[in-house]
Amino acid sequence: MTAPRSKSIVLWTFVISVLVLLSAPTIVVIGASFTSGNMIAFPPEGLSLKWYAKIAQATELWDAFLRSLYAAAICTIIAIPAGTLAGIALAKYPIRFATSVQMYLLLPFTIPLIGSGIGLMLVFGEARLLGQLWPVGVAVCVINLPFMIWAVSASAASLDPDLELAAANCGAPPLSTFIHVTIPGVMPGIISGSLLMFILALNEFLVSLLLVDARIVTLPVQIYNSIRSIITPDLAAVSVVFVACAVAAVFLLDRLVGLEIFLKSK
């Protein structure tokens, strides 16, 4: 019985090293944020919450955070109807330009962000919209929409096509069928997709950097600007708050649709 044992030791070593590797940056940041010294360091020198107290008063950070939330909300609000309809259409109907659509869905991975960012900067500049916050939400939505479409179309593809026929058979006209059967059926995809869109928009850095000016920076840009001068532990504390938001979103996702659905992207 030694073979299975050595196998499991190897397996566990592997799993643990991957976990450490994945969580190391987060652990370092969390540790550093509790330091009582004045320099960012890991392990922290002593324990204190003073940097949290500091960022709680740093109004420019809070304003930036609120601006990030605002942009993310705009992005999500646009993504939900657009991505839902596109995702359902993609999964259910034979689409004329299927391959081109598939190409479009790969965009977030193929086009360098800086490229699409500059493109959007030119478009919005032409439309004289630079210097406002909501275009950032729109831009992030345009760039990340394939994620939403993916989530919804995966959900729609796994939907039993008989369900819609059954609704029609029950006397539901097409619009009622869509509202009462199709939408609830793809709800897991809509929820996971929109949470993903929200988190991606909240974290978005490059596009914000290109589209905003100094008066309306979003949080990642604000942090970046601070790093350029001096790295103090308050930035670690801000990052922790950020991580906490992401964790909260994942927790919400688990409560709403169940993580296993999200992982299977159902």
Binding site: D160, D162, L163, L165, A166, A167, A168, N169, C170, G171, A172, P173, P174, S176, T177, H180, V181, P184, G185, M187
Partner: protein, 381 residues
């Protein structure tokens, strides 16, 4: 035409108004016909089963009646009105799908309420009807459960209640019992029949289970390769299959081939090598020409088996054979007997007498006997 079949029998029963009339309907998918020139009438209140092997076009025909997809040619009439231009949600048809298609995000009661909500009934009517129909399918008290919290048989019942709650003109069942185990299936067959009688709703049931077709139906349509082979009452279908396909598909049947030698009255004599056989032409087929090739169908339960031909007194056709297989099926033994004189054809025989069980071992020489009046003859074209 299949619809001519059994007309005289029909006439003897009380006649009722026709609810569904399928008129020369064909359906092709990319040029391949799934249903060819199907025609039949179904009277109000009757239970019709469409029986056929996999791929014979049963589901296709049922879906055309429900309004999912349009026939390539032909027309379907419901209550005398052509319905090809009527979308499914405007046809008053309840359907139980093969995989049930219950709405997973709703409770059992909400599923049953759905057709009523879509028809904009008021809340009190809905509540009353939902309770009544849940009780009808013996699910009173389980209305609050989600679909995945119900057993397979209970889900089946929810689907039935949902299909019936709006009191449709017509109920369609697409093999809803196929996935159930045998015991539950037989319970549900009786349940369907009870509910159907109680509500008097006209029903079309699809299955490839011949037992289900015979047990549940007023009438049976046998389909093969997209064509209706026969439409008749169950007993009629069983006793007088219209062609060799139906004879083979329903019941356990052996086939013997021969050449017609004489026709006298209804009885047709034929020979196979030096064996003399006889039988009756099936259905309304014309008498054969002398020398025409025929195939005779004989039911396993109409063949008797004995060690010696002297024990088969009273039977007019007797052949000898050798046991190829003895299959124990519990309440009976099925012998497969190879008859060398008939070209090595295998005939199957039931033995229901427990005392005589395993009387014959494979390899044993036996005599088989039957009556010519039980043999149905079909022309081979």
């Amino acid at each position: 035409m299949p619809r001519e079949q059994g007309r005289d029998v029909e006439a003897m029963r009380e006649s009722r108004p026709v609810l569904v009339s399928v008129n020369d309907v064909s359906m092709a998918y990319n040029g391949a016909y799934a249903v060819r020139s199907a025609s039949f009438d179904l009277e109000r209140g009757r239970f019709l089963t469409i029986l056929g092997p996999s791929g014979s076009g049963k589901t296709t025909l049922l879906r055309l009646i429900a309004g999912f997809g349009r026939a390539t040619s032909g027309e379907i009439f419901i209550n005398g009105q052509p319905v090809s231009a009527v979308p499914p949600h405007k046809r008053s048809i309840g359907m139980v799908f093969q995989r049930l298609a219950l709405f997973p995000h709703l409770t059992a009661a909400e599923n049953v309420a759905f057709p009523l909500k879509m028809r904009r009934h008021d809340a009190t009517t809905i509540a009353g009807k939902v309770t009544r129909f849940l009780e009808l399918v013996k699910l009173g008290g389980l209305g609050g459960r989600r679909i995945h919290e119900l057993s397979g048989g209970q889900q089946q019942r929810v689907a039935i209640a949902r299909a019936l709650v709006f009191e449709p003109d017509l109920l369609l069942l697409d093999e809803p019992l196929a996935a159930l185990d045998r015991k539950l299936r037989e319970d549900m067959q009786l349940e369907f029949r009870r509910i159907q009688r109680e509500l008097g709703v006209t029903t079309i049931n699809v299955t490839h289970d011949q037992r289900e077709a015979l047990v549940m139906s007023d009438e049976v349509i046998v389909m093969d390769a997209g064509k209706i082979q026969q439409k008749a009452r169950p007993a009629e279908t069983y006793r007088n299959p219209r062609n060799a396909f139906v004879a083979n598909f329903i019941g356990v049947t052996g086939f013997v081939e021969g050449t017609a030698t004489s026709v006298s009255g209804g009885l047709v004599r034929m020979s196979h090598g030096n064996v003399e056989l006889a039988g009756i032409m099936a259905g309304d087929a014309a008498p054969p020409r002398i020398g025409q090739s025929l195939v005779g169908a004989i039911r396993a339960e109409q063949v008797r088996i004995a060690a010696d031909r002297r024990q088969l007194g009273g039977l007019d056709t007797i052949v000898t054979g050798e046991i190829a297989e003895a299959i124990f099926e519990g309440e009976r033994i099925v012998y497969e007997v190879r008859v060398a004189a008939l070209g090595g054809v295998i005939l199957r025989v039931f033995d229901h007498d427990p005392a005589e069980h395993s009387q014959f071992e494979p390899g044993a020489h036996v005599s088989l006997g039957w009556n010519a009046s039980d043999v149905r003859l079909y022309g081979m074209d």
